[in-house]
Amino acid sequence: MKKVAIVGAGQSRYGDFPDKGIKELFFEAYKDMISSVDNGIDPKSIESAYIGNLGSGGFQLGNMSALVTEYCGLTHLNTMRIENACASGGYAIIAAAMDVLSGAHEVVLAGGVEKMTDVSGMKQKYWLGVSGDTEYERLAGTTFAGLYALMAQRHMHEFGTKREQLSMVAVKNHKNGAQNPKAQFQREITMEQALKGPIVAHPLNLFDCCSTTDGASALIICDADMAKKYTDTPVYVAGFGGASDFLAIHDRVSTVALEGTKRAAAAAYKMSGLSPKDIQTAEVHDCFTIAELLAYEDLGFCEKGKGGQYMEEGHTKLDGDRPVNASGGLKSKGHPIGSTGTGMAYEMFNQLRGTIQKPARQVKGAEVGLIHNVGGSGGTVAVSILRR
């Protein structure tokens, strides 16, 4: 069977950029991606492009992938927008990998872009809330903070997970993000700050929640057989999996696990022939602090219910045995919805090649890394395992 490799990866800065729209943001990531290809790449050799995007405030829902790629000078592409809410980028990677594996195309772009800050606060909440179950969850008066708070409350009730353990995720990720020059929030926060944030959806406070972010990212994915033409150090997509679940959490078997994560991870592990113990570092979907603890459990890094303890024991810190979200995660690096999944791959591409800009954030000697991208509250999940 064919194999797939990543030979280039780029990312715009993440943050709030009033002077840039989706075209400019995507172009910034695109240029970064082109220049990251060690031996250079002719843009005309790119045959396909899959662009993750939720909606960017509704300004160009139709034909947006053609819009952002033609701005980069690419008008010959088999291109489409990929939408699975916050997992759009993760699914753009899957779509690109499948395109290459099918033999239809050899050189494919997987990217993502989102512009969140052009619209009013109320419209942002509107857009952030359209990816859950609109009929029941939304009309019960919740946004995603509320839904993850429901999971957090139950997790605390069933497993004794502590409020402090949630805040440890925020503190850790901000510490990492402070070393990431492309992160939205490049500053550390204290435990006291993390515990005392204004309540958003009790038990979650402002520091348990990721922000709204503008940003873009892009990858060059190709047939592994031709990867060495572009670089001596490609990163291989060893396995991937996408899995869905009931959209509304009240329909799910469990309110303390994302079955979508378990199923997507199982598929990725199976395809790669690897297991959780082989994962040396991971970028997981910490849209809320509880989501990172759920990810530890559902990806198999620790037992169900032990996510808080696993955090507290320090395994996932930069100096731990399995650093998670060395980039700062969604929490500190930022969460430009459609770009988040491909942005994780950008980070992992550099981690596995040892090309992280600031050594403080470089996970030493990692060869295998996992990226985990959740759509909404778990209605869709994309997992990929990357290997040097």
Partner: protein
Amino acid sequence: MAHVSVPMYWRTIPQRYKLIGYKCKKCGAVNFPPKGVCKQCQSSSEFEETHLSGRGKVHTFVLISAGGAPPEFAEQEKAGGQYPVAIVELEEGPKVIGQIADIDPKEVKIGMPVRTELRKIYTEEEVIRYGFKFVPA
């Protein structure tokens, strides 16, 4: 606004006003709200309508503050302060999400008994959307 069109909302009136559940003829699980294929056995599309009691217990809950309220509920939060939303396990089996009304938010506990009653959910296009909320039983 979460745009839920009038016809879309109207189609859910049997659930929102009357708590009509759908009992799977194969495995007996009550599906509420309805599914095309039973969410329990995932192998049957034949259901029998059943009128749920609206009684249940709080499985988990959240207290929504200003930052967590969607635009169509912002006014409610501003007028009344934080409001509780719960996933309730109904006595017939299914879990369903809804607000808990008529209670001091500090009093909400996992396991507490609740029952449904008709309330105003929100207003869109000047049309009041009524539906069930939970109240302490």
